[in-house]
């Protein structure tokens, strides 16, 4: 085990754990904005109860996002010093901008959001909620732009010393920010975040209904979440399609790895599920011939660039990319199905009697989390062996004098801390869910505004 392998493992491990939380914060942020907005508009106390409950869940995910996020800001320098030297002129800017335009905004207004009740007016409190949501979304904007530049670098020139490239310098800021993959990837990431929040709310709401607890709270939460889930899961399909076309054009090796497509100048099929034997250049499993060609070019016979266009040393590891990509797509499809089923039964007026669907909702919260991770994995591993696609190899980006033993120590340390945090997060989240929302003040019957589902008993 060398420092390079260990550094990649460390980065993968730390970002994998970190990436559970920011999407949840962004997704729950939108939920808070909608619920508090409804409260301001309707003055119904139930919406205040809802926004406060989901804000307290948000606080937990946000806290863990901050605690694990600072690690990422350090790791570029600690483990990837040569990468930092090479791309600092381009890559440092978005990171600094993330601090100035996103982190300050969200952490500042979070103080008002969490502790400002009674100290500021209701409208200003709502404004603070919107700012926290925007701050968390801006953070996604900057970091996705920075990462997209690593995928499809643009707007730079290479600086050479003794005939070797030593640095990338910005020549056109706009081209850096709006590099060919920025917008497609940003949209995909943000929708993925909205799905995380929506399905967590769906999951908890469905659990309460199945357990006959907090019914008004649960039904209203589910309806809001279902609207977001239906819209976001459908849009994610459109966005996924746009991303595939973009990748076909700018990172053909990655796209070929997604589908295990080896032969150049041949039409490519699409697997529903399968296993890639990279040595035999074969994919075993259920495969629709010509489907990828058709999806990309509306023609089942259109050739798709295959992996054998690339030197073996320039290819990503095929099977891991294939598997994580198909996991993401599969979950995405399942989420569309779940959201659509929810919408259908809502329209029929029997949503809250479909126990099988509610049980699926309970477990659906894991769906977007796993899909986000799998999508990130396929995007990043699919970029290999490059750290900046076509410009700098991952092996060239490492800190040159870093002893493997020190990296190993840090991996053990992070593994221990993150395992502990993961357990505590699940424990505290579960406690919060079991405790439920803070009861409404006794004045007025809590259920009196309920106008739905007379066939659900309200005496729970």
């Amino acid at each position: 085990m060398n420092a390079l392998f260990l550094s990649r493992l460390q980065f993968g491990l730390t970002i994998c754990f970190h990436y559970i939380f920011p999407p949840l914060s962004i997704g729950l942020g939108l939920m808070m904005v909608i619920m508090e907005g409804l409260y301001l508009k309707t003055k119904l106390p139930i919406y205040e109860q809802m926004s406060r409950f989901w804000t307290s869940v948000f606080a937990l995910t946000f806290g863990l996002g901050v605690a694990t996020g600072i690690v990422m800001e350090f790791e570029f320098g600690t483990n990837w010093a040569n990468y930092s030297r090479f791309v600092g002129d381009v890559f440092g800017g978005p990171l600094a901008a993330e601090g100035i335009f996103a982190f300050f905004l969200e952490s500042g207004f979070l103080a008002i959001l969490l502790f400002g009740h009674g100290k500021v007016g209701k409208k200003f409190h709502f404004f603070a909620t919107v700012m926290v949501f925007l701050g968390s979304a801006f953070s996604a904007v900057w970091i996705t732009i920075a990462n997209s530049w690593m995928q499809t670098p643009a707007g730079y020139k290479l600086i050479y010393k003794h005939g070797k490239p030593i640095a990338a310098h910005v020549t056109n800021l706009l081209a850096v920010l709006l590099n060919p993959s920025s917008i497609d990837r940003l949209v995909h990431t943000l929708i993925g975040a909205l799905l995380s929040g929506a399905f967590l709310v769906l999951s908890v709401g469905a659990y309460y209904i199945l357990r006959r607890r907090h019914l008004d709270f649960a039904m209203r939460s589910i309806k809001i979440a279902l609207v977001v889930a239906i819209a976001a899961s459908m849009l994610q399909l459109v966005s996924g399609d746009a991303n595939a076309r973009m990748i076909a054009r700018y990172q053909p090796a990655k796209l070929a790895a997604f589908e295990g497509h080896f032969r150049a100048d041949a039409p490519s099929g699409m697997s529903i599920a399968g296993w890639v034997n990279a040595r035999a250049q074969k994919v075993y499993g259920l495969r629709i011939p010509g489907m990828l060609s058709w999806l990309l070019y509306w023609n089942t016979q259109h050739p798709v660039i295959g992996l054998d266009k690339f030197k073996p040393s320039d290819r990503p590891p095929v099977n891991p990319v294939f598997q994580s990509y198909h996991l993401m797509v599969g979950i995405g499809m399942a989420l569309i199905g779940l959201a659509a089923a929810g919408g259908f039964f809502w329209w029929r007026g029997t949503l809250f009697n479909q126990r099988w669907l509610l049980w699926l909702f309970v477990f659906s919260a894991l769906g977007p989390l796993v899909a986000n991770e799998a999508g990130w994995f396929s995007a990043e591993v699919g970029r290999q062996p490059w750290i900046v696609y076509g410009v700098l190899k991952t092996s060239q980006g490492i800190s040159p004098h870093l002893p493997a033993s020190q990296v190993l120590i840090s991996i053990l340390m992070f593994s221990f801390i993150y395992l502990l945090l993961g357990i505590l997060f699940v424990f505290l989240l579960n406690r919060k869910i079991q405790a439920g929302p803070i009861p409404l003040p006794a004045t007025g019957a809590p259920g009196e505004h309920v106008s739905v589902q007379p066939n659900v008993r309200m005496d729970a």
């Binding site: 600072i70 930092s84 600092g88 440092g92 600094a96 300050f104 008002i112 009740h117 910005v170 020190q406």
Partner: protein, 341 residues
């Protein structure tokens, strides 16, 4: 605008970001170290909630400072972060535990649970302060580098006597700063308890600061050469001494706010004096001074520095406006409510 001017401006801006961090998170860390010295849950909660709404935003100054260093001086960022590898990994662990301790501690009623997270919060705050002090101490005396700018000194070199001395001074400074902050934000018998911590903290800080100053004068003359060549710069060490001396004076007269401002100014002038001593180097290489990373040989391009400057000029006034507003909202003495930690 010239490249040189931009490089100097970014040196100053980085200084402002890290000074902002030291002032703001300085009292958070001080409160973290001190809060275990009261025993009752209610009192500990009051102390924790004095920083509850704001500590998180204060830490952002460090994150933004790191990002700005990456953007403006990528070679310095790469050298420092890879050179201080295990120190920074331990700092990360400390900052993680600090963040989650305050978040977790009031989630359960159990006294064992709370004691566990209180001690985790205190030790994490102490460790973070010690490590930040070690970092600043090493920065002051420089790091052995190779021709490519990589640190070549090994781990033990980083915990030499001078960095440890600076570290002790930092712990004393943040403890003093935190105690004065707590006196501002508490009332009644708790305030009386808190005020008793200020005197010892000031004493330890002044002793360690004077020791550090003398050791610097004797063993690290490079840090003082700028002052010897430009005697006019002596105004800053003088202001530093006046600010420090004013802290006990204001405390004894019961003027806590003025004492707090003096404590903030002490931090400002400490970092100003350090910056003047370092200028124009950011990482001085004592083994081969020509390999030092200065603001002139390790910055980003003119174009990037300019773009970043525009971003900072748009962003930082906004940040300052709402930061000041938020501090204003939470200016009262702390009380516990249903949303407190």
């Amino acid at each position: 605008m010239t490249l040189e001017l931009d490089q100097i401006i970014w040196f100053i801006l980085l200084g402002i970001l890290f000074t902002g961090y030291a002032i703001l998170d300085g009292f958070d860390l001080g409160v973290g170290i001190l809060h275990v010295f009261v025993k009752e849950d209610q009192e500990r909660r009051l102390l924790l909630n004095s920083i509850g709404p704001i500590w998180d935003g204060n830490e952002v100054w460090l994150i933004t400072g790191g990002g700005a260093m990456f953007a403006a001086f990528p070679y310095v960022y790469a050298t420092l972060f890879s050179g201080f590898y295990l120190i920074f990994m331990a700092l990360l662990a400390a900052l993680i535990f600090r963040a989650v301790s305050i978040e977790f501690r009031s989630k359960l009623e159990s006294p064992h649970w709370r004691a566990l997270w209180d001690w985790s919060f205190a030790l994490a705050s102490l460790l973070a302060t010690i490590l930040l002090g070690i970092f600043v101490g090493n920065l002051a005396i420089g790091l052995p580098l190779n021709r490519k700018g990589d640190y070549v000194g090994g781990l033990l070199h980083l915990v030499g006597p001078y960095p440890l001395l600076v570290s002790i001074t930092t712990v004393a400074l943040f403890t003093m700063h935190g105690a004065i902050y707590l006196s501002l934000r508490t009332a009644g018998p708790l305030q009386a308890k808190v005020r008793r911590w200020i005197g010892p903290a000031i004493t330890v800080f002044i002793i360690s600061a004077v020791t550090t100053a003398m050791v610097t004068l004797v063993y690290h003359p490079r840090l003082t050469s700028a002052f010897r060549h430009n005697p006019g710069l002596f105004v800053f060490p003088v202001l530093l001494m006046l600010a420090i001396a004013n802290v006990p004076r204001e405390i004894s007269r019961g003027k806590d706010l003025r004492a707090f401002i003096s404590s903030c100014l002490s931090i400002v002038f400490l970092l100003v004096v350090l910056s003047i001593g370092l200028f124009p180097d950011l990482v001085y290489a004592p083994n081969h001074p020509q390999w030092s990373l200065s603001i002139f040989n390790s910055s980003s391009t003119f174009y990037t520095l300019n773009v970043m400057l525009i971003a900072a000029l748009i962003g930082m006034p906004l940040v300052l406006t709402y930061t000041i507003y938020i501090y204003w909202v939470f200016r009262d003495k702390v009380r516990l409510g249903s949303h407190s930690y």
